[in-house]
Structure formats: C-alpha cells, structure tokens
Symmetry: C2
Subunit: 359 residues, 2 copies
C-alpha cells in the first residue's frame, strides 16, 4: 500500500520542479522521472525511458539530488539509501520492457519477462469463459490480444501500484491484471451476470484478493463510490457515437484526474474516419490527450451470431468466417486535468448507428 | 502512370456507393475497398485488410459485381478480366504486409518481403551522408527507423502509385522511397544545400528517375507548383509550436485533399503532453483525423553537438551519450477534406520554445 508521506513528498517535489522549469508537466511526469532512474544504466538511458520533457526532468532530478534522494554514479544516477526507502513508499517501480527483440522494438512480445507466467494461467482460465452473446453486443478479443494490451499498459506505467477499473469485461482484462499481481486494486463491471459470476468464481479459485467484479449497466449513472477513484480504465465501447460517449465518458468519470490514463478499442469496420475525428474532438474537449493509437492491435475471436448480424445481408459472398477478421485499434489517452463529464442516466440506443455492422 | 479513365470510374463508383450506403466514406475508402480484394483469400480476409466501414465496403463491392468488375469465387471475391485491366489503370496494388511474425503482428519487420532488397542498398547509401549540423536543428533517425517508417506507410497504401513529398529530409526518406520503386513521383525539400546535393548525386548514381530534390526554406511560402499536388507527405518538424505549425502546415498545403495522408514525428523529450494536445487540436481543426500514434517509433542516431545543446547545462551527470537516447512518436494523419492552411512567409524563431532542449 502507498504510504501517504512518499506521495506527499512526490507532489511537493513536482510542484517545485514545475515552478522552476516553468513547463506544463503533470504529477504523472514526476512519477515517470522517478521510475526512469530505477532501471540503472547511463543518464541517457534514463532520459530515454522517462518520456518526460527534458527541462522538467533534469530540474526534478536535480531537486532529488539536493534533497539527498539521488546521486551521480559513473555515467548515470542512482538512489541513495534514503531515496530507496522513499521510492518504496511511493509505490513506483522501474519501467517494464516487453519490446519485441526481432522487429526493432516496434512490437510487443507478451511471451517475455513476467508475462510468460501470467500467460499460461490466463489462457487456461479464459478457455472456460461464457460464450459471447448478441444481446450485449459482445465479442471478445483473443487471449494474445488481452495479454498484449496488458504488456502495453504495464510498459506505460499504468498498472504498477495503480487502482484500475474495467468497464465491460468480456475480454477478461481484469483477470489478466489480477494474475500479474502488480495493481493495487482492480474493479470489473459488466452488464452480464454470467460474466461477473465467472470472474468472481475465478477470484475465489485463484485467490485473486484485489479484484472485485459487479454487475453494472453502463447506461445507469456510476455509483459515487467509483467516481474519481481510479488511475486507469479499460473499456471496449459499443461504436455508436452515443455508445462511445457513454462507455468512455464513464471511464473518464472514474479517473482521479491529471495523469490518469484510459484505454479503449475503436474499429474501422464500424466507424468511419469521420466518426474517429468526432471521437478525437470529444476526447480533447474532456481534458484528455491522445498518447497512442495502435492500429489493428486488437484481434477478436469469432462469435457465434454472424448470420444474425445486420451486415450478413449485405455480403456478396455468404460464408462463415474461419479466420480472425474483426480488429480494432488500441487508443490510450491521458488526462491533463479533472475530466468534465456528466454522470447521468442515458437512454437511447447505445448499440446501433448508421455505421453499425455487427448488431 | 495512372490512366485518367480508371480513376474517373473509381470516383463514379465511390460517389454511388457513398450515396447508397449513406456513410461519410472518402475516395480513399474506395481505393482501400479495391486493394483489399487483390490479396485473394476469403471475403473475411478482404474485409479485415480493407480498413473500410463494412456498410460502405459491401455496397462498393456489390456495385463492382454489378458492373462486371468483380465476381464471387469460392469463399472470396476475385476480379474479372475486365476488372483486372481496370485495376491496373487505377494504379492500385494489394496491401503490403510487413507484420512481425514473432510478436502477434504488433510490430513491423522491415527485413521482410520487398524491403529486404531496399534495405541493403539504403544502408550503404546512408553511410555516405553529410553529418547532422546544429544550425538547422538536424538530427537524423537510424537507417532501421527510416526503413520501418517506409514499411509502415507502404502497408497503409500511402506509397504505391502515389505522389509523395518530403519536407526536410536529413532522414533520407526520399532515397528509401525511390529505392522501393513504388511511388509515382517523389519530391524532397531541404534548407541544407549539402543534403540536396547528396540526394541529387544519389539520384544520378542509382538512376532514381522519379525523385527530384531542391533547396527550400520552409519559412518561405511553398512554390505554387507544389501546392495541392501530393497524396502523401513526410516531415520531421522542429518542435516549437510555431515550427510544428509551419512544417506540418506546409505538408498539409501540399496535399491534394480528401484521403491524402501525412507523417511526422513528435517527441516527449521536447514536447509536453499539453503541447501534444494543442497539436492534436491544430490537426483536427485543419481537416485531418489522426489515424496512428506509434510511441517511440523513431530512434535517432547520436549527433555531434551534444555539448552545445542548451540542455547540457541542466544535466546532473555530464557524459556524452554512447547509446540511442532521443526518440519520437510516429504520427499519421489523413485528410477528410481540403486542408485550411495559409501559404504565407513565416518569420520568428521556429526552432526554440520553452520546452526545447536540443537547440
């Protein structure tokens, strides 16, 4: 658990570094500045890993040195004894690295490192899950995709020591997160009682103590106990613009504020680039910045209701798919301030718009 | 060369499919719909490759079938004889595939396929290039990065049969493009006479007939002969907001309009996420949608003026970098309409703002 003192110090140092450097850095940049020195290596390696504006970064590090938390050693920086205690109390770990070794680090290899142990267990659990049903517009990503998403968020520092919420979880992200053992708290919401039952049984069988799963219709307002409580959200919104606003809006409402992050998928199959543009405007207007768009990152296992989809009639060749065909991009956003989102009941069709194909 | 007839037909089919499906698709979606059937495979494989809203896609394909250009065959679609001639006259090729086979296709492997032959030649040519100089804020990406960027754009369909402009080319993107042999026309601009001389000598030595390189200061208005003439631009802007606006604004001004694409890099080292947000607003307001943000895609070779950078003084440990440390994200944008950008002379410091570190 986070001790209050470490975090308070972190915020104090952040405010000082922000004032001195006069850069619009966030508290999250302070975390990244600390995490980057934990990997060892030269100062240039720490600069590379940090992903923080250099002017703020060096100001922050110089303050840590002044306060006896950090010192120069050889060509790099290392924590003092006091610094080590402090970092533990801040619950900050060194950046994870799942870069693929084959393709010049442009890809993520979820077979590497600490994910290799999560992998086997997760695939076994997922093999028992309930089937996707049309009623809730379900369709889950492959186990490899859930693991790659986990690797991605882990590298970004959005998991270690963090409170994480999953809004709609037929992908079983919450289970994979719990198996990784690095999050502080995990909450999974879904409208589907079958799924929540399955996750809760998994929690008991595997002793995943920091994961709670509960039934929630995202059209209803979020329970106040979940609002502004999380560092990170995951969701896979229905793709009508209304559905998107509801799912991602609820996700944003659950975030603590500046520096919190959100993940979601968005297809090209059911969303034109004009809808993408509208969605991007929505995100920016709510105080978020888009940090990543990884095209075709998510691959969906085929579901059983293909012949019932509205698009079945449109197909010039009517055969059932035997391979993966439905993909979506992975978006990551980060908040630069408290999000402006209403927490009201939404009525109306969140599943279908004129671009919908799988409903 | 593109024959006018094929393109005209493509536009006619596009307008018809757009009206029938009532989706805000672009002419580029029509190209993608055609390219997707060229890879063979099942209809689901073509749907996956297309990256086009399914409602428009199936409408477009059904129109092609009606006009005798396309027919069902087994579980997929194939061109008729007439369709094959037509596609050749449209200058559309099947989507390239450089997906990494190791990491569940999350990465790009520029050692694969047609890039393997480009690779060797490009690395040899690049070894002779002029050194990066501080005067122009130069600093080029590694050869592997230039090749990965090429692979990325090739997969997106932004190169084959396209007119491409490179605004500032110390990365030698234009040379890699010319070696690939798939673009229709390539123009490289740079302020640095040394670089333009080098590219032009390479053009002569290697017989790269479709590449022209010329000196241009991007603070000056673009020559009218280059405005609205290109399908794709590449640039690596200086990161002051003014510099960014100038570089990317000139790129947008060179594009033909709807469906044209632009590529550029943006760092975290010299740009806060607040600046990222401002840049994203700028892009959307100019009629673009952001289709991709690949974090840490670009890796820069170390340059010779590290001790002269303004950030040298800030470093708590002053050693020269021995490994790669400067990275940037790859952005891709696509236009949904003619861009709104002024083509005026810009004065003022395009190199430095309060977040700058390497100037």
């Amino acid at each position: 658990m986070t001790k209050p003192d470490g975090r308070k110090d972190l915020m104090r140092l952040h405010r000082k570094a922000k004032a001195l450097s006069r850069l619009p850095a966030t508290r999250r940049d302070a975390e990244r500045a600390v995490a980057a020195v934990l990997s060892g290596g030269s100062i240039w390696s720490s600069i590379r890993l940090s992903q923080v504006p250099l002017r703020y970064l060096t100001t922050f590090w110089n303050l840590m040195i002044e306060e006896g938390l950090l010192k120069a050693r050889g060509d790099g920086l290392e924590l003092t004894q006091e610094g080590k205690h402090w970092v533990t109390s801040c619950n900050i770990d060194r950046p994870a690295d799942f870069n693929c070794r084959r393709c010049d680090r442009t890809g993520l290899d979820s077979r590497r490192g600490r994910l290799s142990t999560v992998r086997e267990m997760f695939i076994q659990i997922a093999s028992q899950r309930p089937a996707a049903i049309r009623k809730y517009d379900q369709g889950y990503v492959t186990e490899e995709t859930t693991l790659a998403r986990l690797a991605f968020a882990w590298e970004k520092g959005d998991l270690t020591g963090k409170d994480v919420i999953v809004l709609g979880d037929d992908d079983l992200v919450s289970v994979a997160l719990a198996l990784s053992g690095v999050c502080r708290r995990i909450v999974a919401l879904d409208i589907d009682q079958r799924l929540i039952g399955f996750i809760n049984r998994t929690v008991r069988s595997y002793g995943l103590t920091n994961l709670e799963a509960m039934v929630q219709d995202l059209r209803d307002p979020m329970p106040p106990s979940l609002v502004s409580q999380f560092d990170t959200f995951f969701c896979d919104p229905t793709e009508s613009f209304l559905g998107f606003q509801v799912f991602v809006g609820r996700g944003l409402a659950c975030l603590k504020g500046e520096g919190s992050a959100g993940y979601f998928g968005l297809t090209r199959v059911e969303s034109s680039l004009r809808k993408w543009q509208r969605i991007q405007r929505f995100l920016l207007s709510r105080g978020a910045v888009i940090t990543d768009i990884r095209d075709r990152f998510h691959q969906y296992a085929n579901w059983g209701y293909v012949e019932e989809m509205r698009s079945w009639d449109w197909l010039p060749v009517k055969v059932l798919p035997e391979e993966i065909w439905y993909e979506s991009a992975l978006y990551r956003v980060e908040l630069l301030r408290k999000p402006r989102v209403a927490n009201e009941k939404v009525s109306g069709d969140i599943f279908t718009d004129e671009e919908a194909a799988t409903t």
